[in-house]
């Protein structure tokens, strides 16, 4: 999955518009329950168990940061 496709997942799950993939989720208008919904969607989409504290690292708390986290945790980082 490339960044554009991942941004669409964020938009679909969180009902927001991703203007810049590096923008923190909170600044895109993603609230806390939406963030949980996004982590749930990532688990279902990519088939690995997300660390509940992953987003405590500010570097991961954006669409681009989350996709880097996904790639680091999936067997085929080039895409599914």
């Amino acid at each position: 999955m490339n960044q554009s496709q991942f941004d669409q997942l964020v938009e679909r799950t969180c009902s927001v518009r991703v203007t810049d993939s590096e923008t923190p989720l909170v600044d895109l208008g993603v609230d806390s329950l939406h963030t949980v919904a996004l982590l749930m969607a990532i688990e279902e989409e990519f088939g690995f168990e997300v660390d509940p504290d992953a987003l405590a690292d500010p570097a991961l708390a954006s669409p681009a940061g989350l996709l880097r986290y996904v790639h680091a945790n999936t067997a085929s980082p080039a895409g599914i």
Binding site: L33, H34, A37, M40
Partner: protein
């Protein structure tokens, strides 16, 4: 207590079950259609990834993540929902209480479509309101009658500001008010400055998928809409909403917060996750299929057992949970319901749905939750009670006389 009312505002004990009693009484959904494995996996994820949030107090709002799920449901009947007009409830029973407390003043009259859901009249009475039967004709709520009755009540010094209706697949009759009539009722409400309270738990349960345009869609500033996830997902999550006109939102939200402090973030998160992943179509279709099948089995059995000569009249519903029998000669259905209970089938006599003793000749049969293979047996037991009781009464009268 000051909330004690005459008649007592109590709910019938609909969800109790005895041995070998087939219940056609309580309006329970058929949860056999729920994809429990999927829901279980999502709940597990929700708690593991967001438990500290989902199990915490939250703010008295419909969560942003849940708004699309509500908007999807209301949009199917032309209604409008957005984050600004929604107030969370623990289901429409809380919505009814919040509406009565926030928009009424003790002593006010609330016009109520009858026969009425007993939980609604109990909520109104508990808030100190006085339910008064809304005028109806053969097509349902009657706009000309509304003008007349409201004028008479106001001339008698009564304050009348609210009209309550359950317009689609009504509990207990199964009846649906046609859209042109809805527009006429709203025109009367505007003239009379009445707010319309639209209680719509069953609107998406038309057996063939047909939906009817909401009052809320026709005039969102005149209608307080009560929605619930209880009938299209599950009642155990205790989750619903009020869609309110902008000028009433604050008052309703304040009372909702007083009643419950905050909604369940766990329930809201679970519903949002389900909708986001699966949408509503499949589940609603499964519910419709289940109820269509059960209703057909029950109606066919009633046709076979009662035939056309019976004093009990009824119409096949097009959706919802209920089938409503009425006695041609307006005989009190209470003794028939007790006779049915003696034969091992429970139904609800019409008096439970009355404001002032009317509709006592009705019987509500709920088909939504009875096991398919027991429907014919249930109708057989009921029919025996309905047809044999008068002669038994005669015998008793002869013995006594």
């Amino acid at each position: 207590m000051w909330t004690d009312t005459r008649p007592p505002a109590e709910l019938p004990k609909l969800f109790e079950r005895g041995a070998d009693v087939i219940s056609l009484a309580g309006g329970l959904p058929d949860l056999g259609v729920l994809p429990l494995d999927e829901i279980s996996a999502q709940l597990g994820r929700l708690v593991r990834l967001g438990g500290r949030l989902a199990l915490q107090y939250t703010t008295p709002h419909v969560a942003k993540s849940l708004v699309p799920a509500v908007a999807d449901l209301m949009g199917r009947e032309g209604g409008r929902a957005d984050a600004d007009n929604l107030i969370p409830t623990s289901g429409s029973q809380m919505g009814l209480t919040a509406v009565a407390l926030a928009l009424g003043t003790p002593g006010d009259t609330i016009l109520t479509q009858t026969p009425a859901y007993p939980g609604a009249t109990a909520a109104f009475r508990t808030a100190g309101l006085l339910p008064h039967a809304a005028p109806e004709d053969a097509e349902g709520l009657d706009p000309a009658g509304l003008r007349r009755v409201v004028t008479e009540l106001r001339a008698a010094g009564r304050t009348v500001r609210l009209l309550y209706t359950n317009p689609t697949f009504q509990n207990p009759t199964g009846a649906t008010l046609a859209v042109p009539r809805r527009a006429e009722v709203l025109a009367a409400c505007r003239e009379l400055d009445l707010l319309l309270v639209e209680d719509n738990p069953y609107g998406l349960l038309g057996f063939d998928g047909t939906t009817t345009t909401l009052f809320q869609a026709l005039d969102p500033e005149r209608v307080v809409y009560l929605g619930t996830f209880s009938k299209i997902f599950a009642p155990g999550l205790r989750s619903g909403w009020i869609a309110a006109p902008a000028h009433l939102r604050y008052d309703l939200a304040r009372v909702a917060e007083i009643i419950s402090l905050s909604p369940s973030a766990l329930a809201q998160g679970a519903l949002a996750a389900y909708h986001s992943r699966s949408g509503w179509d499949t589940l609603i279709d499964r519910y419709r299929d289940s109820y269509r099948e059960r209703c057909t089995l029950m109606a066919d059995a009633l046709d076979a057992e009662l035939g056309t000569d019976s004093p009990w009249h009824w119409q096949r519903p097009d959706g919802g949970f209920y089938l409503w029998l009425r006695h041609r000669d307006r005989a009190d259905a209470g003794p028939y319901a007790r006779a049915a209970a003696d034969r091992g089938v429970s139904v609800v006599p019409g008096g439970h749905f009355s404001i002032d003793g009317e509709h006592a000749h009705g019987l509500r049969l709920c088909f939504s939750n009875v096991p398919r293979k027991k429907i014919t047996e249930a109708v057989g037991r009921l029919s025996a009670a309905l047809t044999e009781l008068p002669s038994e009464r005669r015998e008793l009268a002869e013995v006594a006389g």
